[in-house]
């Protein structure tokens, strides 16, 4: 078993993880950046921040996601960007979790729809899917933190340890 899990395989897994996490972040950021009105609304619906702060966060978040995505995809500062991405995912898990607990409709984000339908019923599945997806991505981020040096990355072991 241990032999199979060589540096070579680790390297490819790191590449896959980088592309997966970076790809999802890029798509999420791109869709939000294209539609800032929707992006700010999708921060406001969680009712965690005062409206004015939520609006600014809504403008900044998509570009933060795009920035992290690009770093992960080209493989620069992988450990740092994986840590920040993981933290972002945990923040999303927390936001969705509290929205679920408070029965807030979160239906204007770019991935996934709803939570609460027109008749006021709460559909746990919507929140759960989002939470599971974000936890999955957090695990990917954790792997990248542990093994940041993969294939086709601009990070070299020397530069990472400096």
């Amino acid at each position: 078993m241990k032999n199979l899990f060589t540096a070579e395989i680790r390297g490819w897994l790191t590449l896959i993880g980088r592309l997966l996490l970076g790809g999802v972040l890029f798509a999420a950021g791109y869709l939000k950046a294209k539609n800032p009105a929707q992006a700010t609304a999708s921060v406001r619906v969680y009712k965690l921040l005062p409206v004015s702060v939520a609006n600014i966060f809504g403008y900044v978040l998509p570009w933060l996601e795009i920035g992290l995505a690009l770093l992960l995809i080209v493989g620069i500062w992988v450990r740092l960007s994986a840590t920040l991405s993981g933290a972002l995912m945990l923040l999303f898990v927390f936001a969705v979790g509290q929205a679920w607990a408070r029965k807030l409709a979160i239906n204007c984000g770019c991935f996934g729809n709803g939570g609460v339908t027109a008749d006021g019923k709460v559909h746990g599945g919507v929140y759960l899917t989002e939470i599971l997806r974000d936890i999955g991505l957090t695990i990917v981020a954790g792997y990248l933190y542990r093994f940041p040096h993969g294939k086709f990355g601009l990070d070299k072991e020397s530069s990472e340890s400096e």
Partner: protein, 236 residues
């Protein structure tokens, strides 16, 4: 095989690598900063924006018809939003009738929320308001909203040329209307609508507010419940 590759990745051209890294980091930083800057700059209320007929800042830049009527109905809608079409399908005839009879103060807030062309439809409706044809254009935009099989909710459907034709089809003849649309006269106004709605925590379309009270969605889509809200306030 593995060893060879690992070595090739590691050893040479340290100097060049460092330069590439900094170059790429710089480019990414630039993209992020420029993106945030542009987003913040674009989505601010612009006090110099040209305002269409019937619009006042006090009404959140909405198109306000019958401002002296006692019952005020704020409608935050997006002409590309399917749920808004549902609301219109259920209540449009009723609301239009009340507006034409002067019985309610209807304030329309056309949002640019859903699709890339939402902003064009909102601006076109404002151009129609200048011609006294807002209600007609409003109805026409919903009647002609593409179904989800025709066009995904969040891709562009309308062009300015089509919106001009739509305006003509509801009886607008003035050349001013055409140039109003082609010149994008009210594009900045739609951003003011957005900024105001964002500040008021309007997070979904349709959002219908009667005398300051937001109606539950279940009421919006139910003609009986919706009518009752207004009749209870003395609208007949």
């Amino acid at each position: 095989m593995a060893d060879k590759k690992a070595k090739k990745n590691k050893a040479p051209k340290k100097q060049g690598d460092k330069f590439t890294r900094y170059l790429v980091i710089g480019m990414i930083a630039f993209i992020v900063i420029a993106g945030v800057g542009a987003a913040l700059a674009k989505n601010h209320s612009n006090s110099h924006a040209a305002l269409p007929a019937l619009v006042t800042k006090a009404d959140g830049y909405g198109i306000s018809i019958n401002p002296t009527a006692k019952v005020k109905v704020d409608m935050y809608e997006d002409f590309r939003c399917p749920n808004c079409r549902n609301f219109e399908a259920v209540n449009n005839t009723y609301v239009d009738g009340l507006v034409r009879a002067g019985k309610i103060n209807a304030v329309y807030h056309p949002m640019s929320f859903i699709a890339p062309d939402s902003i064009l439809t909102a601006a076109a409706a404002a151009c129609a308001a200048d011609q006294g044809k807002f209600l007609e254009m409003h109805t026409a935009l919903y009647v002609n909203q593409p179904s989800s099989t025709q066009m995904a909710e969040n891709s562009a459907y309308w062009t300015n040329a089509q919106l001009i034709l739509l305006g003509h089809s509801v009886g607008i003849t003035s050349k001013t209307f055409d140039t109003c649309i082609t010149s994008g006269k009210y594009i900045n106004w739609t951003r003011n609508i957005e900024a105001d709605a964002a500040a008021k925590n309007i997070n979904a379309t349709p959002t219908v507010i009667v005398n300051g009270k937001t109606l539950p969605l279940a009421t919006d889509y139910n003609a009986k419940l919706f009518t009752k809200v207004l009749t209870d306030l003395g609208v007949k």
